[in-house]
Symmetry: C2
Subunit: 120 residues, 2 copies
DNA sequence: TTGCTATATAATCTGTGCATTATATAATGG
DNA sequence: CCATTATATAATGCACAGATTATATAGCAA
């Protein structure tokens, strides 16, 4: 499981996204997190472990407590991956393909030797 | 399972991200996708179903083929969610918290070497 | 019709995720 | 040392993810 796998998988759980949202306001301990989520303490600890193994949060030690915080730069890889496709995702490339295919279907042939997509 | 759940979960699989990468170049059929990934055709169909149910891709019908393409605006919700926290994620808020706690801790005891370790 | 191609669906197996309760570990205070 | 607090880990059950093979459906073509 690579980093992107782990990051995306970690964020696929709504409880874990809620934990992220809470940590965006500042550090929180397991107790802090277990209370509002009405979920057992071991379950929270496990979610935190998943988030930490994904590199999204980090832990420090303060007495018996283990306050978690967002790990700087953790979201960059995700941001970059999405950003890489975001522009394409929104463009009309796909629609252009559809139009060309539609033309060649309905007209019986493609005009001037361009039957397939042109991506560049 | 809400939309973000499905989108993040869909992108947590490397095969599905590779499918997205391929579709960013243009439409592709199940055959087109099954070939380079050396994975069975039913497996590809299932991955495509997951991506489509997550709202990330869409299907059109062309004869017996069902070419898939990226669905416009599909990535916006993910982008927005990440963007919502991205700034905070990178800031020194967390470090400030740590420094303050560290000060109050160390005020009463001598730090022998490294008082705080991070778990892993 | 018959048959070929493209895709979807069913059945099945295996692994993993997420929850619980019970228990172990670690730091702190009396 | 002992008790308390904070957290982690173990054992377990259950549901779902992802792969395969086998089969069904749908369009096209001879």
């Amino acid at each position: 499981m690579n980093a992107l796998d782990q990051s995306f998988a970690a964020l696929a759980d709504p409880t874990r996204r809620a934990i992220i949202a809470r940590l965006a306001e500042g550090e929180a301990t397991v107790q802090d997190l277990a209370r509002p989520f009405s979920i057992s303490q071991p379950a929270i600890s496990r979610h935190l472990k998943v988030l930490e193994e994904a590199g999204l949060i980090e832990t420090r030690i303060k007495g018996t407590a283990r306050p978690r915080r967002l790990k700087p730069d953790a979201v960059e890889a995700l941001w970059d991956w999405l950003g890489q496709y975001r522009a394409l995702w929104e463009t009309q490339f796909q629609k252009l393909d559809a139009v060309l295919d539609g033309l060649s279907d309905e007209a019986g042939q493609a005009p001037s030797g361009n039957p397939e997509r042109s991506t560049s």
